[in-house]
Chain length 268, copies 2
């Protein structure tokens, strides 16, 4: 198992899908020059995020629709995997706030629908996904996707850790004023589960919504390996599998007491 070199692409949301794809293509070229294996965009990067329920519904596509195909061509062209946020069509209601991992050969590795919707913004635009995130394997790494608010819940990362995840990849659009997520919760999730967490945030604004940047990768001991400022940037960070081995000498998992945890899974 080799280092996994992850590019966090901290960027404003685009004004159009055409702009999104053109800028994604440029970012992937730059990420490859910097040696990255995989690039993560912010949440709902392809169409924009705070764009209103009507526009989200109009732009939503199936997981294998034209947007996904265009992203797959970019991935294949540059030979880089892409984790990309987009609105997924939902025949039964509002679209899902989704993210897709596409391999460097253009094949889809995983599609995930955000399960924990954040506030009125999410609830007005999206349906919540009804499946917990599932681990997938790529280049020997066991990877998992979460989206923004999902990762703030200790349950979500624990569920991935119980599946043996090595790195959790998180497209996000976290606003100014919630910096405790990057500074406290993301490193805590990493530390308590002995996994890497890569958190790629948006920057800039959509209308009155201001994104906080500060994208970060937390190591499996909970140290912040890289942290962005508020402005646009592309940062590449190498995840060292040796760190997982070392950190897991002190893992919580063997000492968990699942027999005592039943109330965590009780529906109210």
């Amino acid at each position: 198992m080799n280092d996994l070199r992850i590019a966090l692409w901290q960027t404003p949301h685009p004004a159009s899908l055409a702009e999104a794809l053109q800028r994604l293509d440029t970012a992937c070229a730059q990420a490859r020059v910097q040696g990255a294996d995989l690039l993560i965009t912010p949440e709902m990067f392809l169409t924009g995020y705070a764009i209103g329920a009507d526009r989200v519904a109009a732009l939503a596509e199936p997981a294998d629709g034209p947007m996904a195909q265009a992203v797959a061509r970019i991935a294949q062209h540059h030979g880089i995997a892409i984790v990309c946020g987009y609105p997924e069509q939902n025949p039964d209601g509002r679209p899902f706030n989704a993210a897709q991992a596409i391999g460097a050969d253009g094949t889809r590795l995983m599609n995930y629908r955000k399960t924990h919707l954040f506030g009125d913004l999410d609830r007005a635009q999206f349906s919540a996904g009804d499946a917990a995130s599932q681990v997938f394997e790529w280049r020997g790494w066991r990877l998992g996707l979460l989206i923004c608010y999902d990762v703030e819940f200790p349950e979500t990362v624990r569920l991935l850790a119980l599946q043996g995840v090595d790195a959790v990849l998180v497209p996000t659009a976290n606003m100014v004023g919630y910096d405790e997520v990057q500074q406290l919760l993301v490193p805590a999730r990493a530390c308590e589960n002995r996994v890497f967490v890569a958190y790629a945030n948006a920057c800039g604004s959509e209308g009155s919504v201001h994104y906080g940047g500060a994208s970060t990768v937390a190591s499996a001991r909970g140290h912040l390996l890289v942290t962005a400022q508020r402005h646009a940037t592309l940062m590449v960070s190498a995840l060292d599998p040796g760190e997982l081995v070392d950190a897991r000498q002190h893992s919580q998992l063997p000492t968990r007491r699942p027999g005592l945890y039943q109330p965590l899974a009780v529906r109210e």
Copy 2:
């Protein structure tokens, strides 16, 4: 509901039970002078912690034994509640690593047995408790006890949060080299659950075991209200119920998806 003024008593373990009770009496007097309502000792304060399985077994007592009665007299004498770590006799095996909350009138409020044993030190000396921590009420506050390693598991504090806990009180004996607990995990538990966490650590050494101090109280937003250095100290911190009200305007609890969390409670 008034402020709850908590004294974190960061102290070395005593050489004898007589010394423990004498020093506890002095600390309670000092805490009252500083205005405290409740004092928390380190884990296994009354007898010492890293003292070997034989000595723990010899010193263990029932929850209503002479040790508890002596602590109750001290609480009543000074009019201060005490959360105190001690070894609880177990007819079926090694003692429990326990803590007891005793009210300012000397009545027992709660007894709790550590459920997540830490490493060889705990496993050689103790049996793990078989009940999750239960909330108890005192002066209008909903309180819960955890012991040391317990609080590092997100599940334990979440279980208390689901019972409506306001403040989690944690006698601990965390060693030098594990400062991420005080700096990262304790504030994360507070932040993600919108509860106060008061973490009273030991300092000094027992044989080759060196305790890291840095006792702390995290606010319901995850800010560290007070943090000790490594040396012995008694710090009083006022917990403001208004902070709970404010912080809970952004609570994770209503957005949890317990229907997806079943694997958290599955025994391996």
